[in-house]
């Protein structure tokens, strides 16, 4: 629901209060020995390698590019040598691993006169330095195409996810760089840059200029860009809107300030398996092992997730933090049986958005310890209306999921597939009585759209 100008009050949604939220402490994470970039972090990307194993690279040296758009390159987050290119089935590249040489050598780009640069040159710099993947497009949440002119750019400065990340806290020293990043991005669109701000705690984002501010309040998914776009500048057939994470706006700002590819990544290490959850200054591609060792995570029989708990990627100690992730969660695995756990109103220690559990009574204050148990088995879709309760867009979520299952492209389009990304279905996944995999279904649907419609 849109209130007076640029105010959005989200009514449908649900906040899950979980144990293990990060304290407002920011610590430097020691340099990782190895860094890894996984092409899987980028939706629908087919990578083509530019380097071979053992090649020397500097920070900002290209590693691989996108087959669909060779101008988009992905560069190394660190100086060192490429020690491994891990491949899976059909020689699909899974991870590119770089061993750091601790020399901190970087490729430099001439960005001094960025104020005078036009759109074309700015795009060229972003593409060459590897900063372009910071910009993603709607529909589909793929990396933006440099040939496009988006009708607007959306930045969401807050997250409403469980165990969420506080950008206001982590980026408070980067206000100038954020402003600079905004100014650069402004040259890439004929429209506006919309900055979504948490109406209850505005912070330094309220002082940013050159943007159109949207004040948002309400439960999750109020922080999702889809909600802001839908309310302020809905996306129509054939249109493109870009989205950038707040920290990546800062990265773009730092790049234009210094001429060096910036891949700063603040990580909130959260979850009940983490001894002291807090924030860490780190870099894109940091190894999970480095993080586990330093932050003392009890990772045996824990689920490690790079990204948020509702839609992040499961990783192991040998993997690397996902390119876009600002959070790293560790929660206990739930491979336990629960005796008569299906009886209504029992086991209220599990948070529930349904009233067949009593956990809602305390849900505002209590922090719940959760595990990864499915709490049931997959069943046919029976209950109706539960998805709509947590889906604040003017879209029928269940009908859209069914259209995706039927692979009915025309209907998916008509029901609004362009306006959503799988992450918007995180709560639907969470609260589904029939334990359906809504995000997976939507992702498959979007893949089909990309293949058939493009």
């Amino acid at each position: 629901m849109q209130l007076a100008e640029n105010k959005i009050r989200v009514r449908k949604g649900f906040n899950i209060n979980l144990d293990g939220e990060a304290d407002r402490i920011l610590v430097d994470l020691p340099e990782s020995k190895t860094y890894g970039i996984s092409p899987d972090s980028f939706f629908n990307l087919i990578p083509k390698m530019l380097v071979k194993e053992n090649a020397k690279v500097k920070k900002g040296s290209p590693l691989f590019f996108s087959k669909n758009n060779p101008r988009i390159t992905f560069t190394s987050p660190v100086s060192g040598s490429v020690t491994a290119i891990l491949r899976g089935e059909k020689r699909k590249i899974i991870e590119v691993i770089i061993t750091s040489d601790n020399k901190n050598e970087s490729e430099t780009f001439d960005t001094k006169d960025y104020v005078k640069l036009d759109e074309k040159n700015i795009k060229e710099l972003l593409l060459k330095s590897g900063s372009w993947p910071f910009i993603r497009q709607r529909p589909y949440n793929t990396i933006a195409s440099p040939e496009d002119n988006p009708k607007s750019i959306f930045v969401s400065s807050f997250s409403t996810l469980p165990l969420s990340f506080d950008y206001n806290f982590c980026l408070k020293d980067n206000q100038d760089e954020f402003q600079l990043g905004v100014n650069v991005l402004k040259k890439l669109t004929l429209g506006k840059i919309f900055l979504a701000i948490d109406n209850t705690s505005k912070g330094f984002f309220d002082k940013i200029e050159n943007v159109e501010k949207i004040y948002v309040e309400g439960p999750h998914p109020a922080g999702n860009s889809s909600v802001h776009i839908h309310n302020v500048d809905p996306i129509n057939y054939g249109e493109k809107i870009w989205t950038v994470n707040p920290e990546d706006v800062v990265n773009i700002g730092i790049f234009f300030k210094t001429g060096i590819f910036s891949c700063k990544r603040t990580l909130a290490v959260v979850g009940s398996s983490v001894e002291k959850p807090k924030y860490y200054n780190s870099s894109i591609g940091t190894s999970v092992k480095n993080l586990i060792d330093f932050s003392k995570i009890n990772y045996k029989n824990s689920r490690l997730v790079s990204g948020d708990i509702l839609s992040g990627k499961q990783v192991g100690p040998d993997n690397y933090i996902d390119f876009y992730s600002n959070t790293f969660c560790a929660i206990p695995e739930g491979d336990k049986h629960r005796f008569f756990g299906w009886i209504p109103f029992v086991d209220n220690f599990i948070p529930s958005m349904h009233k067949t559990s009593l956990s809602w009574i305390k849900s505002n204050k209590k922090k719940y310890k959760v595990d990864t148990n499915l709490n049931g088995e997959e069943r046919a879709m029976v209950v109706t209306g539960e998805m709509e309760k947590v889906f604040p867009l003017d879209i029928f979520p269940m009908q859209l999921i069914k259209a995706c299952l039927n692979q009915d492209i025309e209907r998916m389009e008509a029901l609004g597939i362009y306006e959503i990304i799988p992450e918007d279905f995180g709560l639907i996944d969470y609260g589904s009585t029939s334990k359906i995999e809504a995000q997976k279904i939507i992702k498959e649907g979007i893949k089909l759209m990309l293949k058939e419609v493009g």
Partner: protein, 385 residues
């Protein structure tokens, strides 16, 4: 619990993947998951999941049905003793009712679950919990003296034709419990209507008259029951639908737990009230001038609207659709009662009719959303052109 768990795991051995009886795994799993919520963890999508599952939801409906069922059992005995004029205690009535009704419930569950398990094994999916509710609903809406084999046959018809033929749980168009009743109603009308079936033993003992209120009205007779008797439920009728009070108590459970749609329930009562008031004003015959409030209390209207119309699979699925669906169920129920007195089961036919139209209602609601989006697209094209 650990020992029990170990025993189950041992029993399940031959049913594991790749083992000898793999095919029958769904049948064994159904018992296992009844005792224990399985140890499955999330694989895709959200890493954490809500405590709710289909078992919990369905069992909540059963809890909501219990007050009406218990009263129904008592009322069966009460009607019998009251009409024969014998002295009786609460316990006598309850035992009389139990002896009649519990066998029906057992038959319903045994027949229905056998078919459900068979289909689960045949199709290779887990047993869905939906039948736990359907299987209890079917005896609750039957006349008390219906032979057990008819109950079994109706159940088989409902599960085969109304549910599995359409693809199983979640796919059916019609409410299976009402389909069972409709089958019995049309296949064995002498056991399902008239003035000799609604009170226990009415067929065998002459002094018992088992006419329902709507039946008397249709025959143009005087009704000897007061509004409060209708509300509290000491009237003849199908087993568990007579007491509006206890049905409403169950409805409250459904609404507070969010399991039943309050929109459908409220819509149903609004629709029935509007139709009832309009006919009261018209007042041509006994049925039309029957007070609209009494209309709400008799003929299982409350039971139908609260427990049958809210079946999420066969009802409308959109928020607006639920309102329209609920209101139309209410209106059609009274319409059928008044204009077709041969079918006092207005509520059954009204719900089945609206089950058929629910997808159409949803279609127009969704279509409106689609058109709004397409209109935005065309407006946008004009703007940018």
């Amino acid at each position: 619990m650990k020992i029990l768990r170990e025993i189950i795991d041992k029993v399940k051995g031959p049913f594991q993947k790749g083992e000898k009886f793999e095919k029958f795994a769904p049948a064994v799993n159904a018992f296992d998951t009844f005792l224990f919520v399985p140890n499955h963890t999330t694989k895709y999508g959200s890493h954490i999941r809500d405590a709710v599952d289909l078992k919990r939801t369905m069992v909540t409906v059963i809890l909501a049905l219990l007050p009406a069922l218990i009263y129904g059992i008592y009322n069966t005995g009460y009607q019998y003793y009251y009409q024969t004029g014998e002295e009786f205690t609460f316990l006598d009535a309850f035992i009389h009712g139990s002896l009649k009704i519990i066998p029906m419930i057992i038959v319903s569950y045994v027949v229905g679950l056998t078919i459900e398990f068979g289909f689960a094994v045949y199709r290779g999916h887990e047993v869905n919990e939906g039948y736990l509710v359907t299987g209890l609903l079917i005896p609750m809406i039957m006349p008390v003296d219906i032979p057990l084999w008819m109950v079994g046959l109706s159940v088989a018809f409902a599960v085969f034709i109304a549910k599995e033929a359409f693809g199983g749980t979640g796919m059916n168009i019609l409410n299976p419990a009402l389909t069972a009743r409709a089958f019995a109603f049309f296949a064995y009308p002498t056991y399902m209507s008239g003035n000799k079936v609604w009170v226990s033993e009415a067929n065998n003992i002459d002094s018992i008259s088992g006419e329902t209120i709507l039946g008397s009205l249709a025959a143009g007779q005087q009704v000897n029951f007061s509004t409060s008797e209708m509300f509290f439920g000491s009237i003849p009728g199908s087993i568990a639908e007579t007491s509006t009070l206890w049905v409403l108590a169950g409805g409250l459970v459904l609404i507070l737990t969010g399991v039943g749609s309050w929109r459908i329930i409220l819509g149903g009562f609004i629709g029935a009230s509007i139709a009832g008031i309009l006919f009261n004003l018209w007042g041509l015959n006994e049925l039309m001038s029957f007070s609209w409030i009494n209309h709400l209390f008799v003929g299982g209207l409350a039971f139908g609207i609260i427990f049958m119309a809210t079946d999420p699979v066969s009802a409308a699925q959109t928020v607006k659709g639920k309102w329209i669906y609920g209101i139309l169920v209410g209106i059609f129920c009274i319409l059928i009662r008044v204009f077709n007195p041969a079918y006092p089961e207005g509520v059954m036919l009204a719900i089945l009719l609206m089950n058929v139209f629910a997808p159409t209602i949803d279609h127009y609601v969704v279509e409106k959303n689609i058109n709004r989006r397409k209109k935005r697209w065309t407006l946008n094209q004009i703007k940018t052109a």
